[in-house]
């Protein structure tokens, strides 16, 4: 299986080669192993086992919109499968990883407090490296077959860490910017024009301080746009080269910060706070990982309808967010049932609706039924949302080792 044949981290080989391997393996996961029992038969067992279980779903709870969606999903699996899902609202996924680690330290191999966790990127890698995850399971889920693993490589490589069926794709994310057209009619098209825009609109943009997830993403986006050869970023950081490769980034940020909100001396707490600041006109430009965020917020009166979404011309970073089952989960079957439901066409359709959440689907349209395809096609776009053509190119995340290197360097420069 994938897990045994691959090393824990991607060493020197280029990312693309791994993607190629993934495309071969991920689309037909572990058929050989399960030849005696079909997926459907196995799944019936899981469903039976899950009945009556309570699943504690640890998910970031900072957005009412998302919490509402999770409530809806919980209600659905309760009705359909008699699985109770309780959202444990957290501020930081790291806390959850800490808790699972504490449980591992205390040798609690069953009956853990976390059944399912919303995770991706660094936290996934930490959990994988420290063996805090349950054995590969997504290949057993009927709805996993619907996932667009072919055209959405980030469903198989989570920030370049091989997913290895250890987490179930839940939604797609792409970095988008929002601007208040009333205050700023022309949106920047890249990092350079952002700098120019701010020269005449001093203080009207910022990004959350690192190690915040959105802050890190903005810095990565800047790096991708500014380096001479983006290819270098697909490889692990080599300490000796880091300073040289990242040099243009620091030159840029040194110029950008004085033009930012509060002169770059302090930063917003989160992208969510930036949305509020955009509404207050403290900021004219904000950012999000959800292309429908602006539309959703307008519908909510959280933002004025003069806000529009935009992306940078050469594309923006995209990734996938997942749900994962810890190694000692108490209600594994229940968690699988819920994770499977979250990947269902019904749940993904509801989630993709900009009036609900607007989170793009992980599913492949050609694997769905005609009706489902139609329903997806008929989804309203939202007043401030870009079409998939307008959203443009999705840039792949740099190798995950860049995150900690960038974070370290950023903190050493701007948070001391």
């Amino acid at each position: 299986m994938l897990k045994s044949t691959q090393k824990k981290s991607v060493d020197s080989a280029a990312l693309y080669r791994y993607i190629a391997v993934a495309l071969l393996t991920a689309s037909s996961p572990s058929w050989a192993l399960d030849s005696k029992e079909t997926i459907a038969e196995q799944w019936q067992k899981t469903l039976a086992e899950a009945k009556g279980q309570t699943v504690y779903f640890n998910a970031w709870g900072g957005s009412q919109t998302i919490n509402d969606y999770i409530s809806w999903a919980a209600k659905s699996v309760k009705e359909q499968y008699q699985v109770t899902v309780k959202q444990v609202k957290i501020t930081d996924t790291g806390d959850v990883v800490s808790r699972i680690l504490a449980e591992k330290t205390a040798n609690r191999t069953t009956g853990g407090s976390v059944d399912l966790v919303w995770v991706n990127g660094e936290n996934f890698r930490a959990m994988k490296d420290n063996e805090l995850l349950a054995d590969a399971y997504t290949q057993r889920m009927p709805n996993y077959a619907l996932v667009d693993t072919e055209n959405k490589p980030s469903t198989v490589y989570d920030f370049t860490t091989p997913v290895d069926n250890l987490e179930a794709p839940w939604g797609m994310a792409q970095l988008v910017f929002m601007h208040d057209t009333e205050k700023l009619s022309v949106a920047p098209t890249d990092m350079a024009s952002l700098l120019q825009t701010l020269q005449s609109n001093k203080g009207r943009f910022s990004y959350p301080a690192l190690p915040n997830f959105h802050g890190t993403t903005f810095v990565k986006q800047a790096l991708l746009e500014l380096v001479d050869d983006p290819q270098l970023l697909t490889k692990p950081v080599v300490e000796a080269d880091f300073a040289r490769i990242s040099a243009p980034l620091w030159v840029y940020l040194d110029k950008l910060h004085p033009l930012m909100w509060r002169g770059g001396k302090t930063f917003p707490k989160s992208a969510q706070q930036m949305k509020q600041l955009l509404n207050d006109s403290e900021l004219f430009i904000s950012l999000s990982f959800n292309p429908s965020d602006a539309s959703n917020a307008i519908a909510n009166d959280e933002l004025p309808n003069s806000v529009k979404t935009y992306v940078h011309a050469k594309g923006t970073l995209g990734n996938t967010h997942f749900v994962a089952i810890p190694f000692n989960a108490n209600a594994k079957a229940g968690a699988e049932v819920f994770a499977n439901f979250l990947m269902s066409a019904k749940a993904q359709l509801h989630k993709a609706n900009p009036t609900v959440w607007g989170d793009p689907t992980v599913l492949a349209m050609d694997k769905l039924s005609a009706d489902e395809r139609k329903a997806f096609a008929e989804l309203p776009l939202g007043v401030a949302t870009l079409t998939s053509e307008q959203l443009g190119k999705v840039l792949l995340e740099p190798h995950s080792s860049w995150v900690s290197a960038l974070e370290k360097a950023w903190i050493a420069r701007y948070a001391k």
Partner: protein, 577 residues
Amino acid sequence: MTVSWSGSRLAKSLLIALICLVFIAPILIGLIGTWLPALGYLPGLNSNYDSSRYLSLDAMAQVFAHPSTVASLKLSVGSALSATFIAFVLSQWLCLNLYRSALWGVLKHSIAPLLAIPHLAFSVGLVFLISPSGWLMRLVSPVLTGMSIPPDWLIVNDTYAASLTLGLVLKETPFFLLMSLSALSRFEHQKTLQIAASLGYSHPVAWQKLIFPQMYPQLRLPMLAVLSYSLSVIDISLVLGPNAPATFAVLVNQWFGHSDLNFRYLGAAGASLLLLLVLMFILLLYIIEVFLKKATKSWLVAGAKDLAKEVVSQWMAKVTLFFMLLVSVGCMAGLLVWSFSQRWRFPDALPELYSLKYWQKSGLQLLEPLQNTAIIGISSALIAVLICIALLQWQSKVQLGSAKPGFKKSLLWLIYVPMLVPQVSFLFGVQVLMVRLNLDGQLLSVIWIHLLFVMPYAYLTLAQVYLRFDERYLQQASILCQSKWRAFIYVKLPMLFKPIAFSFAVAFAVSVAQYLPTLYIGAGRVNTITLESVVLAGGSDARVSAVFALWQFILPLIVYVAALVIPQICFRNRREL
């Protein structure tokens, strides 16, 4: 409580054992559980740490190698010291100047509602009020300022942690005032002032030379508690504090939650460093105290000399009190308006659209958290008050000379330990302990941990009044009804009902505000209103934040009001109570 009565040795030992087990064991084990990873020992982590690093100071060295550490420590120490100092001096200055004024009653009555405002709710409200796009600016814009977009002023989250300090000062001054009032009630301050006046001392001088030195021993501990709290506070610092870098406690918390699990070592080392800092400050305070005592020795008896400009300072004190009340009311009012708004943009003074939606939605959503908060708060406060009564009953017997002191002194310090030790410095270890005992994520464990933090405050607010009780009432009653228990229940408890109820309310409010302990021990499964509020206080949606902050305020407020009103109803025809 049997202790106080029969004086039986068994009961006393049981009480001591209980206190040790309930209060000291978790802290001690928690500290050890934090020190071990600080020294490089954290089994369960497949880290690149090798065993040769076990029991080394590598992690501590890494803490200091981290670029943010020094600046962040400066911010923490600076804001904590100045907030504690300013709040303390302010409270004493207000007492001194308002004692003889008509506002003394206002001051006394404003303490309870001010204390009821949870720190987090208060800071969210403060941001709504004073930030460049806050309510104050909206009220004067664009008419007075000419601004249609908010100015880019560095007010909240400023790099000097000034707004954090302001928030802490505004929140801790009422606590110091409460402690001062309780210290004042311990001795005949009125007579002391009269005698001083007859000797020719002006009121402020008499206060400084005679009243304050007598109050101070009762204020020392609260001062240390405030210092330790300010050094290790996380939720307020997240809302009001700087973030590049953040205060040290926030940084430590970031390390504990960092996606790279090797940061746990730094977190543990940083948490231990916080504890060291607190210990250092306790020592420092002790030294300053000794020094001041020596330095003021001759000044205290140097004789009367009128040098006070009383009228001016009294007037200033009145303005300050008024300002404090105004800011607090403003914060709460701001929250209230936001909670009912649907669309509210700068520079509108009031929302463009109103809605009840967020209250309605929160009502359903918060049913469980509110219920949990109430259960945890009521049980922990109740147990704390009961243990306090048992301890105080014992102490009053010691005071009367009818019981031997026993472990009294050391016992009292044990109660205060949870208040002095920064929460982050042992909660990580407590979490591991709870997991090991399979007690995490359970309501009972959360109540237990809350009890730890609630107890010192219950004791602080109850002790003075309780020990001042004239024990002859109890003696008389037990002679009359031939039962010490009946006498205690029907005479002493009712006569002390008011202070007991107030102490319960303070304890309840402390429980409601607990964030980290609930998070760590409740494993996120025991959801409280404060957990919900912190999650949403990130500023995602001002309307939702406002509703949640207000919910967090409503519970303690109800209990405070009940604590004041119920005794009044019970004893409505009793003038002496």
